[in-house]
Assembly symmetry: C2
Homo-oligomer: 344 residues x 2
């Protein structure tokens, strides 16, 4: 089946004008008489003419579309970030194209290649938990493709970045648990090579230090697939409880990890386990958990907004930009039941 849109040629033929005249009339050029302009505009309106964006892209050598690469959209943090991205992009005349890596480096590379070859004007990326080697991105970046990272940033690539203040988020969460009276606070987090993981760990350590609690590496467990596979989280928990000093509280990193830990803890709790818990999550369902879940919330929407503004700035800049900033947005600690040490 085909779908034959009307072109500038159709208008030109019908009106006995040249395509150049029609083209100019359509964009309201001053060098076309009002009479002709009106004629063209009215006819175009009548037959519902729409410029062919493909032809335009070919001519202008830009597609007015930006690509988004995220681990997965079925994650409230990312879907909120995408909403932020869209809110800016559409207003600025850009179309967005979303793709998911599902935390796999390979899919991430394929998607990025695919997008790059589909002539996007720029890329908004949050790298997968599995990704360590960033050569594919580095290459594109060096060739001049505008890229902005958000959340899961790549420190070694010199461009704009937007992150939540994971250091402070983890710090606050840890302090909160300490203040509640927890002593052995564990941390189950994402891949150790992710920058956000490192920042969270630093915040966690600093909070312990500030409260004269020695840092015990055995209380930190990493999930290399960001919680996409339940087994890795299960193993992490199992490892924690193998320690002689069992944790009495856990801080979870990332939406996925956070909810999986919660589920596993909930199941274990039947055995009388009582653990303080707080997680990094942007889910809007955490209030419905039982106990309701204390969370560190990231400003996902705002991060999307900021990243998109930077990307468009990069795309539309006449001269190459070499000074790049990293925008850090505040996290929010939301205290609910799961992190409270209740009197029993």
């Amino acid at each position: 089946m085909k779908f034959e849109p009307v072109t500038i040629k159709d208008i030109a033929a019908k009106l006995n004008l040249s395509t150049s005249t029609v083209s100019r009339a359509l964009r309201g050029s001053w060098e076309i008489s009002n009479k002709t302009k009106k004629l063209v505009l009215e006819y175009a309106e009548k037959i519902n003419y729409r410029p062919n964006p493909i032809a335009l892209s070919l001519k202008e050598r830009r597609s007015h579309s930006i690509g988004i690469v995220v681990p997965e959209i079925a994650n409230h943090f990312f879907s909120q970030a995408i909403n932020g991205i869209e809110s800016i992009a559409y207003n600025r005349g850009y179309h967005v194209s979303i793709s998911q890596s599902h935390e796999s480096t390979e899919r991430e590379m394929v998607n990025i290649q695919h997008m790059a070859s589909r002539s996007i004007d720029g890329l908004l990326v949050s790298i997968s938990a599995e990704t360590e080697n960033l050569k594919h991105l580095q290459d594109l970046h060096e060739k001049g493709l505008p890229i902005v990272f958000f959340d899961r940033i790549a420190p070694e690539i010199n461009t704009y970045k937007v992150v939540a203040d994971n250091y402070k988020g983890a710090y606050d969460a840890t302090v909160h648990l300490i203040n509640e009276g927890y002593k052995n606070i564990a941390h189950i987090t994402s891949s150790p090579h992710l920058f956000i993981t490192q920042k969270r760990l630093e915040g966690y350590k600093k909070a312990l230090e500030d409260h004269q609690i020695p840092y015990d590496p055995k209380l930190v467990e990493y999930c290399n697939y960001g919680g996409m596979v339940v087994d890795e989280v299960e193993l992490a928990i199992k490892n924690l409880f193998k320690n002689k000093k069992k944790p009495d509280a856990i801080i979870g990193g990332g939406d996925r990890i956070t909810s999986v830990i919660f589920l596993l803890l909930k199941n274990q709790k039947k055995g009388g386990l009582k653990i303080g818990y707080i997680g990094f999550s942007n889910s809007d369902l955490t209030d419905m958990f039982s106990p309701s879940l204390s969370v560190v919330r990231q400003p996902a929407f705002e991060m999307g907004v900021a990243a998109t503004e930077l990307l468009i700035k990069l795309i539309e800049s006449k001269r190459p930009i070499t000074e790049f900033e990293t925008i850090v947005l505040d996290t929010q600690l939301i205290e609910k039941e799961s992190s409270k040490k209740r009197i029993e």
Copy 2:
């Protein structure tokens, strides 16, 4: 900043060949000598040549991309469906372009127009709860743009459709509640004009009828924004409890409505309210609710797969298709705590 990809011309110039020869060599045409082919292929590989899809689209008058229009991606049903769509699309060489209506007719129209004018080859649509007038879609459909509906289908447009068996889903849920001993089963659902809403209502009624329970329209409440605004759900619940015969169980329609009802019920429960509850939901977090939530789960991924296969069939078909089927996939009732009448 600009990003200058290498073109066929660059190869031709470098190798002292014409663009036609290079083009033919690249696609392995038989009328090019093996020597030349090898030369071209190797050089193309070396400089990492990628055909410009925009130029190709312009030439072939198709973009190899399909548009998705859903209410929102921050909804597990839709994100799972999108995963299903992607799984097929990418394998068949199609790129997908996702857009969200946020349950608003206006945004839906804008998105659809935008996509149509961006030369997509076909459209996968799940209409917003607010949408009643389908003229925009009807127009495009009549102009020959291939469209397949899934989940929120438009019965009046004659094309392929893919739905879950909402009738059976609602029937099963209702019967389950009846069997648990609930007497006054209410139903809070989406806009009355949505086809799925009607089907669910039918299933609900039939189940009541089969168990000699009279149908009471006062036990059915509609949310015109599909639960996007909390107030409408709150009002729905309030209305239900105004009845002289107060409901002792509720069936919620849609992911969003389901979780909002749950939250509101949970808050009310402090006052001693005890209500059987089951909802249509594809969230993977319902197990963590308290009580864990009984749900009717829809085969979201499979629906995405089926819809995409049909759309591609439509796009690639040589002759116009006039016989359209509607695929109905089974739902699954998952019984957890929230729908059980426990002995107290």
